[in-house]
């Protein structure tokens, strides 16, 4: 992990310190808690889904910089997108963390692509995927 200075980059730090989507969402119609016992990351994801489109989303809770920034970047990406598109992007993200996604696919993740180096950091994988796994479970639940 010698390039760790590069890993904790401006984009990640900014999403950690000033998360745009970390707040309550009173009109949410879905809510799910995600917990990572390794780090103690504990978030609750909240979504408002209408006609199969993620109209709004937010999260509350606490955790390490990777978990918080990852959840925030994810919401930036999926808000306004159809459910299927959000699930497709989540799939790309989860494959990226396993080191199995192509460069072009990673580009589709926009800022969340900065987390691709987590694929070389086994201790932090659970932190990075926490928000995404929670989203995936939520969207797959409501048919």
């Amino acid at each position: 992990m010698a390039d760790n200075r590069a890993f904790y980059n401006e984009i990640l730090l900014d999403h950690n310190m000033h998360p745009a989507h970390k707040h309550e969402l009173p009109d949410a119609d879905m809510e799910m808690r995600g917990y990572n016992p390794t780090c103690g990351d504990d978030i609750t994801m909240k979504l408002k889904v209408e006609n199969g489109v993620v109209m709004d989303g937010a999260f509350v809770g606490s955790g390490c910089a990777i978990s918080q920034a990852s959840a925030d970047m994810m919401l930036d990406l999926v808000i306004g997108k159809p459910k299927e598109e959000a699930l497709r992007l989540a799939d790309i993200f989860l494959r990226m963390i396993k080191g199995e996604a192509g460069e072009e696919e990673i580009d589709e993740l926009e800022e969340a692509g900065v987390l691709k180096d987590v694929s070389h950091m086994p201790a932090r994988v659970k932190c990075a995927v926490l928000g995404w796994h929670t989203l995936e479970q939520m969207l797959n639940k409501k048919e």
Binding site: D14, T38, C127
Partner: protein, 411 residues
């Protein structure tokens, strides 16, 4: 005895091949220590020259294997000043030792309404076995609370230890706060109440002399791997009369005198508690670790660890946003300094240290109830051993000073 300056100038890392080769500041000694070459060689030597199944074979090699194993037991007996080598049971580690006491002594001696007193700072391994005993027998677990500095008052102990108490379980040194607990008093009060005292010495044995007779401990457990010995070998000390009255923990080979279709007689102590093929190479390694500790001497080890703790402590207190958990006095941290940094999650702290070649621990340190009680949540922990150097501490401090800035604060 060397003075502080001479002591800090000593190079102990030359005895530890990993530390001599790797460019890291290894400050996770409370999790596991490094091993000197002599320990690795002792294990190797067992397999290369004396390997056979100990305790049973009737040929030369098997007798050598038995000797290596039993010599290690005598070394442990002397190391903790037990009355008899029959009071030394080899296990895998502290956790197994404590489970042995809980399953064997706890389940056979406790009943509904009895009380088990645990300090709130116990490692999960001296807490969960007792909660199992409580769940199975109807006994009640009572937590002995400490101050924010880790201190346990005599008054609190006197109040909680009563004639209903059957077990008092306490760590000699906390793996989170690094404080030295008043176990002598706890043992005395336990005995007055008719209870037995179970001492977790996992974090004390690597750093200070432990004398079970002086302490009058009933049971005392520690691990080889935290005291520069191999992983997979641990010790349970138990008073002979207690061990004798206890049923076996594990059943099988090498723990019996004879077996027929209906009945059996268990082997005498300590083999009654050592079912199956034992870790003789590990025991030989532990023997070498004890010899190594004796060659350096606890006095020198403690003095050097104290000097390094003092250095780290003073520097940490000056860094903005860094908070030390536990006592504000460096003297009350036996080589363990647990801390938080404002706004930076401990796992991010550990990752940044890692990038700088500094190895520390982050998380709950297997003592979640304590951290809940102190309301800190996850924390970071640096833990020293005598072989750490002034350079290791400086490297830690230099890195620590940059962490908040690297996480985006004050830019």
């Amino acid at each position: 005895m060397l003075n502080e300056k001479e002591l800090l100038a000593q190079d102990y890392k030359k005895d530890f091949p990993l530390l001599a080769q790797l460019d890291v500041a290894y400050l996770d000694n409370a999790a596991t220590a490094q091993r000197p070459l002599s320990v690795v060689e002792a294990e190797r030597n067992f397999y290369l020259r004396h390997n056979a199944n100990p305790l049973r074979g009737l040929y030369q090699l098997a007798m050598e294997a038995t000797d290596a194993y039993e010599d290690a037991r005598v070394a442990v007996q002397k190391f903790i000043n037990a009355k008899s080598e029959q009071e030394i049971v080899f296990t895998r580690n502290t956790t197994e030792s404590l489970n042995l006491v809980a399953y064997s002594y706890g389940l056979s001696h406790l009943q509904a309404g009895d009380e088990i007193v645990l300090s709130i700072m116990e490692h999960h391994s001296n807490m969960l076995p007792w909660r199992m005993v409580a769940a199975q027998t109807g006994a009640v677990v009572k937590y002995l609370e400490c101050g924010a500095d880790g201190s346990i008052s005599e008054a609190a102990m006197e109040q909680i230890i009563t004639p209903k108490t059957k077990i008092v379980a306490m760590a000699q040194v906390s793996n989170v706060l690094g404080c030295l607990n008043p176990i002598e008093k706890a043992i005395e009060l336990a005995h007055k109440a008719g209870a037995v005292a179970v001492i977790d010495a996992a974090q004390s044995a690597p750093h200070m002399a432990v004398d079970v007779q002086k302490l009058d401990a009933d049971f005392l457990a520690f691990s080889g791997h935290k005291m520069y010995g191999p992983m997979g070998i641990g010790v349970l000390y138990g008073k002979k009369e207690l061990l004798e009255a206890m049923p076996p923990f594990l059943y099988g080979g090498e723990m019996i005198s004879w077996v027929n279709r209906e009945t059996q007689e268990y082997a005498p102590l300590p083999h009654k508690f050592e079912a199956g093929t034992v870790n003789a190479a590990g025991a030989a390694g532990l023997h070498a670790a004890i010899d190594y500790i004796n060659s350096v001497g606890y006095e020198a080890m403690e003095a050097r660890e104290a000097a390094l703790t003092k250095l780290a402590f003073a520097a940490m207190q000056k860094i903005e946003g860094v908070h030390i958990i536990g006592s504000p006095k460096w003297e009350e941290h036996k080589g363990i300094i647990t801390f938080t940094i404002d706004g930076v999650h401990p796992h991010d702290i550990a990752a940044i240290f890692d990038a700088d070649g500094v190895n520390i621990r982050a998380g709950n340190h297997c003592a979640q109830p304590l951290l809940d009680y102190l309301c800190t949540g996850a924390t970071a922990r640096m833990s020293l051993a005598f072989y750490n150097s002034v350079e290791d501490v400086e490297r830690f401090i230099n890195s620590l000073q940059t962490i908040r800035e690297r996480m985006g604060y004050g830019r």
